[in-house]
Amino acid sequence: MADTVLNSPNIKKLSAKDFRSDQENRWCPGCGDHGILNSVQKALADMEIKKEDYAVISGIGCSSRFPYYMDTYGFHTIHGRAAAIASGVKCANPDLEVIQVSGDGDALAIGGNHFIHAVRRNIDMTILLFNNEIYGLTKGQYSPTSNQGMVTKTSPFGTIEEPFKPAQLALGAQSKFYARSIDTSIKLTTEVVKSASAHKGTSIVEILQNCVIYNDGTHALVTDKATKDDYQLILEQDKPMIFGIEKNKGLILGGNGKLIVVTIGEHGITEADVLVHDAHTENPHMHWLLSSMMAPEYPVALGVIRDVASPSYDEKMVQQIKDVQALSSIKNMDDLLNSGDTWVVE
């Protein structure tokens, strides 16, 4: 979260349009990225942060073209390294609101190392992870999130790899904020991006994104009109985890430690039996279970799954410099050059 806010009443409120750049958009018609762009522009306009304080940093991939379409400071970098570059931006100027955009390949394959370490350090930035479960830009090879067995150009007989669940990787790296949204829901994505930005520390927003060309329909159960109500569990703080067309399905914790989908009104289950969401609990166990749910066995958890307060790296960095400076007698280079053992030649 940037410290510089628009609190002066005579500064005109920004609109999503103010964040549109004049660059020609090169995403395929129907690509989920368009919707995400709209949502993010809306979210940024809604927040009380000056336009010049946003820095949008991406790697390489279809999704990573994102900064070109944003009228903010932007940096389209190299494949996999967005997290590292974004980390440097934030350390150089902690007042900036840093947003990283990466695809599933960019963040979790070539950039996996930077991803986990950025999360571990808890640098105050928001990582938008566009998960289309495919390499879009290079035209359809499987990614670390592609389902096992998936046939792609580099797995003509089906992949034999176990995919990552990005949330598990993040929680393993001690993530403090994890949210999930879908490209088709502008409202949810906007809200979730705002929450992520408000959180101090590394916030991850995994956005289930459809690649119409190379992996069309991979999230269909969650996004299609006909099925989505049964496969979306939109989490809200302190609210029971209820979903379904008839709002009568819920989650309970089974004796074996697994989540179980129940129907309210059946087998004596009432709303009071259904689990209540707490994103702020430090213990990641429930967040792990929730974020690991996959359709069709379960609904897919959306919204803010985890949001735990913890001091950020940049905050600690600034504080440490202040503390050391207060105690040191070395105030400038001349002091340093002349410190310690020196002698004079006449």
């Binding site: 010049e52 400071y73 570059i85 934030k90 340093l336």
Partner: protein
């Protein structure tokens, strides 16, 4: 201090302290060199760390050495061969005997020459017993026994008692060279402030060693090396790595920017990161990244956001940074990449020196990807060239590679402390609110674009690795534009030649032989050349610090000499680079790949040969 039998004046002396890693030889050597520097001698030192940190005790692999060269004249190298070798155990003798001058003095800790230690060091028989050392002035001292004896009333435990035995040898050498104790005593008092018993013990043992040498008259005479005629000023000892760190900090201060260093530890570059990390008081931000790629990438991010950003590494790390270095070239962001070269390829010889990353630095990136390359040549001038790397990077909006090497990085020498006000101010072309700004619009003189720093109102813009349209900076695949932009990138680096000094030859403007070197070989080359010049030989030295681009007068200088010999600690990379730049000039080569610096002796031999050849 004491009456002497006979004092012999010497111009210069080389001492090598060696022992097991735990014997405290680095500290002993540093004490001697600091004391000599304070005394007024010119000094050059070089620590020779064991290759393996946990090499078994008593083995050759675990020998740690420290060589120092001090004199009445200007000293430019730690010396080829030692006048005095201190060997704390058989392994140290085994590893270092070849570095002792014929008839030099060898001080051994006799107590450590046990059967077991001899075997570990690979000796079939005890060299102290046979006549292998007959040509040397061998001084056998029961250092362990005498130290124990001296501290028999001390409350210290045996381990701590034995730890002070390095002070015994230091005391002996102090007697031999007539050095005062004060500096070392002060050092001991400060270092062990919390342990008065340790302070007492060390001071006592130091004096015991001194008195022992005096009593046995370790030499029939003792040496005196008069102070050197040194330029007035305040001095300190400094290693190359520390000087590099400070030079970068100085550049940040003169540019009025915050310094950010993204780096991953690697021998022999790590101390730069460590030194910077210790300087939070000056606001330095260090980021120990998860790997070298993240090291440079965090630095690029910091540069984008307006810091003076640097990344530090050694050869293998430079290889990892290449793709990101290309991004910095493409986006024309200021960045200093420090590469402390070591023996390669691969893990190679991590603790040994080499100059074999030159072509990697000049060419080792994908695409046509020019960036300036400069090199430091002595431990203390690392400060100047680190500053210069920063100046060029910030004034020209470009990444710059600064090459140093393990030899000058770990070596130390006295350094006249500059005043910050003597250093030039660095002015980066930062765009201001309200400026007309296009991401790739350029100023005329250096063709650099402006640095529009995030947070500046109204200058929002996008940059990235994709080719950009000249001027407005939008993504461009236009064929002609790529030609234009490629030409500009080349021209921008060439223009750096307008902002660096010309090459100055040491010696006559015309001569039979011009010795050409670059980087860390300076000390050895200048010593060899000066010695030959004293012998009236027609030889001069052109030593390069600005590598790419070369100083403007390079071709003209080369044209004035009959023969040119390029000397480097690699297989001829600079020679190859010069050949491609000056195709009509013939370059001889002298090269070495042993992980070791040149020796003055070998250089003189080679130059003499060349001088004699018709």
């Amino acid at each position: 201090m004491s009456q002497k039998t006979k004092i012999i004046e010497r111009e210069e002396v080389v001492i090598r302290f060696s022992g097991d890693s735990g014997d405290g030889m680095q500290l002993t050597g540093t004490q001697f060199s600091d004391t000599s520097a304070l005394f007024g001698n010119d000094v050059a030192t070089f620590p020779d760390y064991p290759a393996e940190i946990r090499a078994p005790q008593g083995t050759v692999g675990g020998v740690s050495g420290f060589q120092l060269h001090f004199g009445h004249q200007e000293i430019n190298t730690p010396g080829d061969f030692a006048d005095v070798l201190v060997a704390m155990n058989p392994a140290a003798l085994q590893a270092n005997l070849k570095w002792v001058k014929p008839s030099g003095t060898i001080i051994v800790n006799e107590d450590s020459f046990t059967d077991k230690n001899l075997e570990k060091a690979g000796y079939d028989s005890d060299p102290l017993m046979d006549d292998k050392l007959a040509d040397y002035n061998l001084i056998k001292a029961k250092v362990t026994t005498l130290t124990r004896e001296c501290l028999k009333d001390s409350e210290l435990d045996q381990k701590s008692v034995l730890r002070s035995k390095n002070m015994f040898t230091l005391g002996m050498v102090y007697w031999m060279f007539d050095r005062p104790f004060e500096h070392t005593e002060e050092f001991i008092e400060k270092k062990f402030k919390k342990y008065p018993a340790v302070v007492d013990a060390n001071k006592k043992v130091l004096r015991a060693g001194y008195n022992f040498a005096k009593t046995i008259e370790a030499l029939a005479y003792n040496f005196s090396v008069a102070p050197a005629k040194i330029r007035k000023g305040t001095y300190r000892n400094i290693t190359g790595n520390k000087a590099t760190a400070w030079g970068l900090m100085a550049a940040a201060e003169r540019a009025n920017l915050e310094l950010f260093c993204g780096s991953y530890p690697i021998t022999p570059a790590t101390e730069i990161l460590q030194e910077l990390a210790a300087r939070k008081d000056l606001g330095v931000k260090t980021f120990q990244a998860e790997d070298e790629i993240a090291g440079i990438c965090t630095a690029i991010g910091a540069s984008f956001a307006g810091d003076f950003a640097v990344t530090t590494t050694s050869g293998p790390g430079l290889a990892l940074k290449t793709e990101a270095a290309g991004l910095a070239v493409m986006t024309e962001l200021p960045l200093v990449i420090v590469n402390v070269q070591r023996g390669g390829p691969s893990t190679g010889l991590p603790t040994k020196t080499e100059q074999s990353d030159l072509l990697q630095a000049i060419h080792g990136r994908s695409g046509e990807c020019p960036m300036p390359v400069i090199a430091a040549s002595t431990p203390s001038d690392c400060f100047h060239y680190a500053f210069e790397a920063g100046r060029i990077a910030l004034e020209h909006m470009t990444p710059v590679i600064l090459l140093t090497d393990g030899f000058i990085a770990n070596g130390a020498e006295p350094w006249r402390i500059p005043k910050m006000s003597e250093l030039p101010e660095i002015i980066a072309p930062i765009a201001k609110e309200g400026d007309d700004f296009l991401p790739y619009a350029r100023e005329e003189k250096r063709l650099s674009r402006k640095w529009a720093i995030p947070g500046t109102k109204g200058l929002e813009h996008r940059i990235g690795g994709l080719e950009k349209m000249d001027g407005d900076g939008t993504v461009s695949y236009v064929p002609e534009n790529h030609q234009v932009m490629s030409d500009i990138r080349k021209r921008r680096v060439a223009l750096v030649a307008e902002n660096i000094p010309e090459i100055k030859v040491k010696g006559n403007e015309e001569a039979d032989v011009l010795v050409v070197g670059w980087g860390g070989t300076y000390g050895h080359l200048i010593t060899a050349v000066r010695e030959l010049q004293k012998e009236e030989k027609s030889i001069s030295l052109a030593h390069f610090n600005y590598i790419f681009p070369l100083p403007k007068n390079t071709a003209e200088v080369f044209s004035r000499y009959k023969k040119i010999i390029v000397c480097e600690i690699n297989d001829g990379q600079f020679a190859e680079y010069l050949r491609s730049s000056f195709q009509d000039i013939k370059f001889e080569q002298h090269n070495k790949l042993m992980g070791l610096p040149f020796t003055v002796v070998e250089l003189k031999e080679r130059f003499n040969q060349l001088l004699e050849e018709k």
